[in-house]
Structures are given as structure tokens and as C-alpha cells.
């Protein structure tokens, strides 16, 4: 009998089931947000659907107790692995002040949490890439062994900030992993109109480090590649650019209509390769999941999401006067010191 793939790559049985659970939780929270949006209850959704597997593979290779992450707006599954919950994300979707990401100040999908080393992110794409490199620089300067991780879309890999940050990381062999979630589109523009090159990973050579293409629909493969990248970074081997090939299964956001730029056949075809489908088959085949276990997992997740929705919807809105808070930090000598 051959060792199952997840053990080969270094995951325990429990871990691989957990991985699936996070993916399912992310998908369920995401779908709930669309429902709430279509029901007119929340003004905006931006989705992780199609990218959960890539994010789960990446997230399990990191150590939330020390590694910094600078995620982008699709990284719902990743921040769940980093300790956020259905509740925190639904609070964010409703723009409520209890949301730990931004207290409802930012659109959903704009993650951040100091306590959990999730660096606050914004909308202008790519700005988080130098931030992650800066965190990696801090690790180098203080001789600490954390690594820093940043994710972004393939369209974003064209921004100047990607180039400048990757180059600096290459010069100093900083402990940072650049994780490109290539979902084939930047809103409506397909990769062949976004990228001069075939693979984003091809760009790594221009910065003196390794670029790896991985099937982003296969969480275990992503885990394998990411784990190697993390180990390399932690042991002084420098950065890696990992490109996970994925597909965005839904429109760009709740404001988009993807029928104007891609066929339904293309989307259906991609759905067949959905990482959730693949992971489920794997777990069933390996005997790590059966119908009963699956049903109870789904139920637990649904309960959690229902509870979170109810809680978030009922939570109070921000008091208008808080608009003026936190423009500047409250005096020197604050927590930043």
C-alpha cells in the first residue's frame, strides 16, 4: 500500500480533514454573503470561490503563531485558518464595529488583525507586497525566525509595487513567500491581455529566486510547494514566488456580471475541477470522511454560519461620532512602542 498523498507531503489525517473543513467553511461563508447581498442586506461581496484550495494549502504551511501574512481580498479561507471566524467575517460584511478587520470601516474582504499578524490591507492592488517584504526585513534585522507571506492576483503581478518589492527581497534573500493566485482574470481581462509572459512564476528569475507553478486546485500540492518555500525562507534560503493556477468561479464581485466577458461553458468546465470537489473525493477515497462525518461537518458549519449571520446582523452599527476616531494614534508611547 502506498502512503497517501497527504502523509507524503507531511500532513496528518486530522490536518487534512481540518483543511477540508476550512475550505468548506470559507465556501459556506462566501455563499452566505452572496445570499445576503442578493437579498439587499449587505451592499458588497468579493469572493474566494474557486481559490479555497490554494489558500488552504498555503495557510497550513504557515505558522500563525509567528508568521506574518499580508493577504488580499479573496483570502477568506486563509484568514479563517489564521483564526478569523464566520462571525468576524459576517460582522465585516455588515460593516459592524465589532469586526476585527476594520471595525466595519472597510469593505468586506479587506483583512487585518494585529493580534493575529494579519497586516491590514487596502483596495489599491499590490500595495501589500512591499509591506510583506518589510516584515521580512524586520525578521532579518532582528534575527527572528518568522517568515512573511503575501498573496495577490495575477493581474496585480503587473503592478510596479510587485516588481520593486520582489527585487528588494531577492537582493537580500529575505524570508518572504510571494503567492500569486492566478485565477485567469483581472475582472474582465483574461491573462493573455494581462501578462506578457506565460506564467507569473517566470518573473522570479528576474529577481534571482525560484518561481514555481502549482495546480492551485490541488491543496495538497500547494501545501507541498508552500512548505518547501516556507522552510527555505525560514532557513535563510530567501524568497520563492509560488503561482497557484486557479479559477474564479463567480463574478469578480457582487457588482460584476461575468457573462459579458466569459462563456458559461468555460465556467462550468472549471467548476468540475473545483478544489472542494477534488478534496472531498480524496478524503472519501482515503476513508478519512464518510457520509455521516460529512453531514455532521456540514451541519456544524451551517450552524456556525447561521449563528454568525444572526449575530452580525443584530450587532449594533458604529456610532456616528466614531467617524472621527483613529485618524491619528492616541499620543506617543502607545501600543506601537
Amino acid at each position: 500500500m502506498t502512503t497517501p498523498k497527504h502523509r507524503q507531503v507531511g500532513l496528518t489525517d486530522q490536518q487534512v480533514v481540518d483543511m477540508y473543513r476550512y475550505m468548506l467553511l470559507a465556501r459556506t461563508v462566501d455563499e452566505r454573503m452572496w445570499l445576503l447581498n442578493r437579498a439587499g442586506k449587505i451592499p458588497f461581496v468579493i469572493s474566494c470561490q474557486g481559490q479555497e484550495g490554494a489558500q488552504a494549502g498555503a495557510g497550513f504551511a504557515l505558522d500563525p503563531s509567528r508568521d506574518y501574512i499580508a493577504p488580499y481580498y479573496r483570502d477568506l479561507c486563509l484568514v479563517l485558518i489564521y483564526g478569523h471566524t464566520a462571525r468576524t467575517e459576517l460582522l465585516s460584511a455588515f460593516g459592524k464595529p465589532e469586526d476585527p478587520n476594520s471595525g466595519g470601516r472597510q469593505m468586506p474582504g479587506h483583512f487585518g488583525d494585529r493580534r493575529r499578524r494579519i497586516i491590514t490591507g487596502s483596495s489599491p492592488v499590490g500595495t501589500q507586497i512591499p509591506h510583506a517584504v518589510g516584515a521580512a526585513l524586520a525578521a532579518r534585522m532582528r534575527g527572528e525566525d518568522f517568515v512573511s507571506y503575501v498573496s495577490f492576483g495575477e493581474g496585480t503581478s503587473n503592478q510596479g509595487d510587485f516588481h520593486e518589492a520582489a527585487n528588494f527581497a531577492g537582493i537580500h534573500k529575505l524570508p518572504v513567500i510571494f503567492f500569486c493566485e492566478n485565477n485567469q482574470y483581472a475582472i474582465s481581462v483574461p491573462t493573455q491581455k494581462q501578462l506578457g509572459c506565460a506564467n507569473v512564476a517566470d518573473r522570479a528569475a528576474g529577481y534571482g529566486f525560484e518561481g514555481v507553478v502549482v495546480d492551485g486546485m490541488d491543496p495538497l500540492e500547494v501545501y507541498r510547494v508552500m512548505r518547501a518555500a516556507v522552510e527555505k525562507a525560514r532557513s535563510g534560503g530567501g524568497p520563492t514566488l509560488v503561482e497557484a493556477k486557479t479559477y474564479r468561479l463567480v463574478p469578480h464581485s457582487s457588482d460584476d456580471d461575468d457573462r459579458t466577458y466569459r462563456s458559461r461553458e468555460e465556467v462550468e468546465e472549471a467548476r468540475r475541477g473545483d478544489s472542494l470537489v477534488r478534496m472531498r473525493s480524496y478524503l472519501l477515497a482515503e476513508g478519512l470522511l464518510d457520509d455521516a462525518a460529512e453531514a455532521s461537518m456540514k451541519q456544524a458549519i451551517l450552524d456556525e454560519v447561521n449563528e454568525a449571520t444572526a449575530y452580525a446582523e443584530a450587532a449594533p452599527h458604529a456610532a456616528p461620532e466614531t467617524l472621527l476616531q483613529h485618524v491619528y494614534a492616541e499620543g506617543g508611547g502607545g501600543p506601537w512602542q
Binding site: 464595529p97 476594520s102 472597510q106 489599491p124 474582465s188 459579458t260 456616528p320 472621527l324
Partner: protein, 327 residues
Amino acid sequence: MAVKQYIEAIRDALFEEMRRDERVFVLGEDVGVRGGVFRVTDGLYAEFGEYRALDFPLTESAIVGVAIGAAAAGMVPIAEIQFADFIMPAVNQIISEAAKFHYRSNGDWNCPIVIRAPYGGGIHGALYHSQSVEALFTHVPGLKIVTPATPYDAKGLLKAAIRDPDPVLFFEHKKLYRSIKAEVPEGDYTVPIGRAAVVREGTDLTVISYGYTLHLALEAAGELAKQGFEAEVLDLRTLRPLDESAILAAARKTGKVLIVHEDNKVCGVGAEVSAMIAEHALFDLDAPIRRLAGPEVPAMPFSPTLEKAYMLTAQKVYDAMLELARF
């Protein structure tokens, strides 16, 4: 004349100018196949093809920089920045390059580009899909800044911008796109850059505004008339160059000035308008020059209560007008 939405007036201007002059083309993110995320450029791709409705990679600095270079080689590019908030990566190309192309070459080269960008809040766009960025650029000599408030002006000013030999930033308040409809002549006309317009006559106080908040001022002025105060309302339309004579005339006429804009106050357009009046019409004033502007916070939050607290409303404008009228 036909009744058109603000967004339709802009689209009409694009179609007409692209038919008139084959050097004119649009470039930007999602402007081609998708017709723009607000659908401003809808239909251009079908009529003018891939290159004249050019889907650009997600690179604002290159969108503007390539436009500058294409203009240098004889084209007339209209660059779309998807949201004004995302103009920041292009600031170097706009301020260091476009604004200085003509001056630094001693008049040898021109930079006839237009940069269109939807701006402004009130659409749940949160911090990064709601900003007003016009003041940053209004400071910069070499640029022209246009902010139409009506469908008529939007079409006429966009045509003027496209035909203008200098770089023009054309800011479209996204709350106006589909909320404002008005008569727009069929066919060709332009509205001159650099001219403000008195959009309401009055003798008791003067409100100076532009863009979305102009409509709040007009609404408030209607209400205020019921209290017996008649407001003169001036639409700046162009922020650089400011129409100094129109501003001073409007200020002198009533002696009481309120400037209203959504962009925050400090070093905003209102500061310049106020300073201009304080320098050239001080002794015609009967009251302090008031400014009503967005609060001094980095940008408006997503939270509905906070967005509401941020946004100006006809009520807030009315209150400020009434207070000034009674001064």
C-alpha cells in the same frame, strides 16, 4: 434635445469624438470587452475595435505613461482610471510628466491627454472607492481639472477636454452617473474649460460648489427661498484654472460666501476659493467666509452609519446656508 443621464452624456461625447477623429482612443482597465465597470465605455469596443477601446493591464502608472507616449507620437488618448482612488500609482506620471511636458520642453512638445476618473462617495464604496482627489491635482500648474455637475456640461466639457492641447483630468462624480438626467443637445458642442457658471441667481448669500454637492446646494437653496433667503449658486465646473472673475463677482454680489465640497477641507479647493476672495474682495464681505467640506479623516468608511456621517446632505448644506444668511 434629448433627456440624457450624466453617464450617457459622457458616453455620447466619447462616441462622437472617436468618430470625428480617429486619433482619439480610450485605454484603461476593463474599458474594452466589458465596457468599463460603470459601463461608461460600453459599445466602444464593438464599434472601434480592440485598440481604440484598449483593455489595459492593471497598471495605472503605465496607463497614464503609455497615454503620454502615444500622444507624443500623435494620438489623442483618453485614459480611464477605474476609480479616482486608484489614480495614486499614476501620480508620478501625471505630476512629473504630463503636467511638465510642455513647460520643460520650452513649448516644443504637447501632452494632449485626458484622464477620466469616477470619484466621490455615498455608494457604499468605503475608503477606497469613494475618495475625492481633485485638490491634490488642482494645486499643480500644468494640469487642467474639470468636474462637471450636469449631463450638458459633462458632454461639452469632455469634448473640450479631448480637443484641448494640455493634459486634462476629468473627474466624474459616480453618484451623478445615473441619478441626474437633463436635456442635452444632439450632436456637437463644447463647454469651455475654465469658466464657472451661475446656476441660480440670488442676492442674500453665495454658495460656490461643484460636482455632486452642487445639487445639494441647489436643493438647499430651493428650501432656503421658503425662508425668504435667495442664494446665488456658482458651479465652478473647472477647478484649474479657477474662474477668478466669476468667483469674485459671485462673492461681491452677496457679501456672504459658503463654499461646499465633499473633498476634505484642509488645503482643498475651498481653501483656494476662500483665499482668493480674502485677497481680492475682502471689503465686500459681510460675513466670514464659510467652508462646508468632508471631515478631516482619511476617507469615508463602509459602515452605513459612518458613511452617512461623512457625506454632505442637502440638510447639512441648508443648515450652513441658513446660518450664513442670518449672520
